[in-house]
Amino acid sequence: MIELRGVSKTVSSGGQPLTILHPLDLHVPNGQCLAIIGPSGSGKSTLLGLIAGLDSPSTGQITIAGHDITALGEDALAQLRGEKVGFVFQFFHLVPSLTALENIQVPMEIAGRRDAKLRAQALLDEVGLHDRGHHYPAQLSGGEQQRIAIARALANDPPLILADEPTGNLDSSNGRHILELLLQVKRARGVTLVMVTHDPSVAAIADAQLVLRDGRPVAAETTATGSRPA
């Protein structure tokens, strides 16, 4: 599902180049759940952003579901994200001016689906919030907002879900529920799930783990197929 070859990211900081992700190879098979873990500033979110095509790598090649996304332009990337990738953020990032239901509808409307509203309602039911569709994000709790975000991520039936610290902004009880929901979705739909977290208990339930430190994979702790390129 995901194939990274020699992917790195260097940014400019105070006029000096700063490498926040050193060259990395990674292979995530279909249906696998990968946890990317590491301390703050280790490059976890950067890696996730690169996989989602939210940002472009400085070097290397990223292939998602057979598409080389490093060769795609902004609009093609946006289209690919809409069809193949669902994203769940730590801070939910719902559009504050839209209701819960409308937030779920948006990706389907962008993709031109006619049944957006019906399906959004079904997804709302799936995440257990069938009666909260008309509420605005500000009227929902953190846990509820994250459920909406998950429903939105599932809107176009993407084969890949990327989650950036999905429980990082929630209390432990809500965090547990969200995690269960994500795993349930993964099992039920057979999607590939990549999660960034620094919570070991969250990481423990993943099929594989990629540990990053200072922008490099720590081989000893990594159980996935991620490695430094030779």
């Binding site: 979110s45 989602a52 946006a78 990032h93 504050p96 001016s97 948006v106 962008i110």
Partner: protein, 844 residues
């Protein structure tokens, strides 16, 4: 497409309150344009439709001289051939007084004598439902305007003396057809029977009566008749004019007025547009995260740009509709404001379809043009913004540059369209750009000037100045808009005061303030004796100057050769009737610039001195010969000198042509008089009555009344421009409110930090008050500075009057602007003061 429309509607639902200022900005400007255009179009429509009523005939022949028998026969012949009929009418200015009140006042009136059959078109409306018929006038009856009844303290049934004839008031005129709109009126209208006119003695020699023939002509024959009569009048002092020409003139005048006034509306819309631009800029900044989210879930930049453009279009449309609603409200108030300015014509003021369409179009165009450049930012929002904050400083890309050029071209095109002329449109667009640039530079300099205050010991002052000068502050835009508004208001006020001061200076204690017209030679002694009785001690005696009315009928010059009057007519104003005099010497306001003035000895060889402007305009110089027609007698005079006349000081009379004594004395002529009237109003009135008693045909023009009339005209113009200035200032304040609202989120956060660090609400309010007070002070300074420059320029070059910098007026203007901006700034920041710090910091 569905996504774009859905999202635009949803976004609008969520943010319309924040964008309220956006559409109010558009609404005010669109309202101004729609109201101005509708009013003028309503008036124009009514007048163009009633052009026949305006001249109360199909065509009108007029002449300032009695129409001779031969010419009258020709006219009758032509009318007969064309199947036309006609009635005669005479108009003249004269004095009227109550016949049975010895010592009562005498008033100048505009007399119209008509025959049975008047009017061909339109209706003469009389008070109390009395129906107009010519019988009311027959046998020395007179119809008068209500104001004359009040001025002379008379009523229907009383008698008036006009000239040397007694008339009985038989009715009160409410409205009459054929009264020209906006024509300068020197007195109330009175109507008498044409058959009674000769008895008044007003149509004799030297009369300034305008003789008219009103024609009713079958439609098919009208054009041919006009062409024929024009040929017949080629060498006569008569002219003919059809209602169609009146219609065309009215159409052109109104079209020009409409286009020029609409430019004022456009200025307000463009100011609104500046508001729109800044509101959109901040709006996009606030929407960055939402845009990133939408991109993250698959939206393309072009789709999002379309969402926000659609949103702006909806807001622009809503603003324009609100503006049309405002214009409609304004139109309801108009009939009561303009009542009485168009007597005789009932105008229905209503929104007109073209005005509404233009308003909608302009509202939409300005909204889109001004928001396009800030909206382009949407393209540069990266979805990775959701993962980490990134510095976003970029140079404008090619698209942005091209779109900016497109927007500028669009605005210029819009201005040209509204001005109805490429030239005027380009000038206005350049003027607007120049003003904006000057205000921008002045704003930047003033900000620099206050920056040292940032080192002030006062915490509040330090932070107020820091807020003003920090990057991203809206102050330059606010300075531009508020500064422009105060510039309009202060500028117009100071121009008005300069003008009125100039009139006061002109009426110095010893300068003449009364003018006597049409004194006959045999009335001179009687007039002099009345004047002597009222002459104030120490005042200069009244001066009586001989005057004749002459027309140029030919020129034999080195540069100009005009064979006959038809040739002269081809030279425009040279063909008009001039009032001329003769005297042996120059007046104090005259100077010879070419040739030499005659000596004091009279000579029968015609010699004339001409005014410099006339000499230059028509290329007539020393040595040329001009042929004049005075009362039908033609004679030639050689130009022996060219005079410069100081027109601003023409209280002793300014003449285009002055003759050497000796030639004109024998021609029958009248005199005019200049005098300083008694200071006391009653004595002035008594003197006028006595003058009319000895010289019934004489007219008295009271300089004081003229001055009051001018003052009221100046006041009306000032009022109109002040209304415009107030609208501009209002737009400026709206932009201020918008700017405050848009930066509020940052303010609330800062205030929360300050409060956490121990700042009281009072301290934060003081910072806000100082910040906006300072902003208002700068805007007021820019406005007052601009106003002083404007007043200086207009006084010096357009009006040629001395310039007085009005320091007090400017200071008051600056103070009011400053206070207004401070109060509105603090009031619109109320939320900043009210927010609890903990909630704010948690939300961040």
């Amino acid at each position: 497409m569905r996504f774009v429309l859905y999202m635009a509607a949803r976004e609008l639902r969520a943010s319309w309150r924040r964008l309220l200022v956006f559409f109010v900005c558009i609404a005010v400007g669109v309202g101004a344009i729609v109201a101005i255009r509708s009013v003028i179009q309503s008036v124009r429509h009514t007048f163009a439709g009633e052009a026949r009523t305006l001249i109360s005939a199909d065509a009108i022949i007029s002449s300032t001289r009695p129409i001779g028998e031969k010419l009258a026969a020709t006219i009758d012949d032509r009318l007969k051939t064309a199947g036309a009929e006609s009635i005669r009418s005479v108009e003249l200015a004269t004095m009227a007084r109550a016949a049975d009140k010895p010592g009562g006042r005498a008033r100048m009136v505009e007399l119209r004598a008509v025959e049975d059959g008047f009017p061909y078109y339109g209706v003469m409306k009389l008070a109390n439902g009395v129906r107009y018929e010519h019988g009311l006038l027959r046998g020395f009856g007179v119809l008068v305007r209500p104001e004359l009844l009040a001025q002379l303290a008379v009523a229907v049934g009383d008698a008036l003396t006009i000239g040397s004839q007694r008339f009985t008031i038989r009715g009160v005129i409410e409205s009459e057809p054929g009264r020209r709109l906006g024509a300068f009126s020197i007195g109330p209208r009175v109507f008498v029977d044409l058959a009674d006119l000769p008895k008044t003695g007003l149509t004799g020699f030297g009369s300034r009566a305008m003789t008219q023939r009103l024609l009713r002509v079958p439609d098919a024959a009208l054009d041919g008749l006009i062409v024929q009569l024009r040929k017949d009048f080629a060498n006569e002092f008569a002219r003919v004019r059809s209602y169609q020409a009146t219609e065309d003139d009215i159409g052109e005048d109104f079209a020009r007025a409409e286009d020029y006034l609409s430019l004022v509306g456009l200025v307000i819309v463009i100011l609104g547009g500046i508001g729109v631009s800044s509101v959109t800029r901040v709006f996009v900044q606030q929407k960055m995260k939402s845009i990133a989210v939408l991109k993250c879930v698959g939206a393309r930049s072009s789709q999002l740009l379309a969402v926000y453009v659609a949103q702006v279009a909806m807001l622009g449309l809503a603003g324009s509709l609100l503006g049309i609603g405002l214009a409609r409200l304004a139109m309801r108030a108009i009939p009561s404001v303009l009542a009485g300015t168009t007597p005789g014509v009932d105008i229905t003021y209503a929104l007109t379809a073209p005005a509404v369409t233009q308003g909608l179009g302009i509202g939409l165009l300005v909204s889109l043009l001004f928001s396009l450049v800030p909206l382009l930012e949407v393209r540069h929002v990266k979805p990775s913004l959701l993962l980490r904050d990134e510095a976003r400083s970029r140079k404008p890309d090619l698209t942005q540059v091209l779109v900016t050029l497109f927007v500028v071209a669009g605005l210029v095109a819009l201005t040209v369209w509204q001005a109805g002329s490429l030239r005027v449109g380009l000038i206005v667009a350049a003027g607007f750009a120049g003003t904006a640039l000057v205000l921008h530079v002045a704003g930047s300099l003033l900000i620099r000037a206050v920056v040292p205050l940032a080192r002030s010991k006062s915490f509040a002052m330090r932070h107020a100045v820091l807020h003003l000068s920090r990057p991203g502050s809206q102050m330059r835009i606010v300075l531009l808009a508020v500064g422009l508004g105060s510039f309009f208001i202060i500028g117009v006020r100071s121009l008005q005061q300069n003008l009125i001061a100039e009139f006061r200076v002109n009426v110095t204690p010893d300068s003449p303030d009364m003018f006597l017209l049409d004194i006959q030679s045999d009335q001179v002694e009687g007039v002099r004796s009345v004047l002597a009785r009222y002459q104030a001690a120490g005042a200069a005696p009244a001066r009586l100057l001989p005057v004749l009315r002459a027309r140029v009928v030919g020129v034999e010059g080195r540069e100009l050769q005009l064979e006959n009057f038809e040739d002269v007519r081809g030279r425009g104003s040279l063909a008009r009737e001039y009032t001329v005099t003769y005297r042996p010497a120059l007046e104090p306001n005259e100077k010879i610039v070419a040739g030499a003035l005659w000596d004091a000895t009279p000579s029968e060889a015609g010699e004339v001195s001409i005014e410099q402007g006339l000499s230059e305009r028509f290329r007539i110089g020393v040595g040329d010969t001009i042929r004049f027609d005075v009362l039908g007698r033609t004679f030639a005079a050689k130009v022996t000198s060219v005079r410069f006349v100081e027109w601003a000081d023409s209280r002793a009379g300014g003449f285009m042509f002055v003759f050497r004594p000796g030639l004109l004395e024998k021609a029958p002529h009248g005199l005019i008089g200049f005098l300083r009237g008694p200071a006391d109003g009653d004595a002035r009135a008594r003197m006028q009555t006595e003058l009319v008693a000895v010289a019934p045909n004489l007219s008295v023009i009271d300089g004081r009344e003229i001055l009051n009339a001018i003052k009221s005209v100046v006041d009306n113009v000032t009022l109109a421009v002040t209304v415009v200035g107030t609208l501009v200032l209002f737009s400026g304040l709206l932009i201020l409110i918008g700017a405050v609202a848009m930066t509020k989120f940052r303010r609330v956060y800062e205030a929360a930090i300050f409060k956490t660090l121990g700042a009281t609400r009072q301290l934060i309010a003081t910072v806000l008050f100082l910040e906006y007070g300072l902003l208002g002070l700068l805007a007021g300074t820019i406005g007052a500075g601009g106003a002083i420059a404007l007043t200086w320029g207009i006084s010096r070059y357009a009006l040629e009057i001395p310039f007085h910098p009005l320091v007090r007026l400017s200071a008051v203007g600056v103070a009011i602007t400053s206070a207004l901006v401070a109060v509105i700034g603090v009031l619109s920041s109320w939320e900043v003061l009210q927010h609890k710090p903990l909630a704010t910091l948690r939300a961040e």
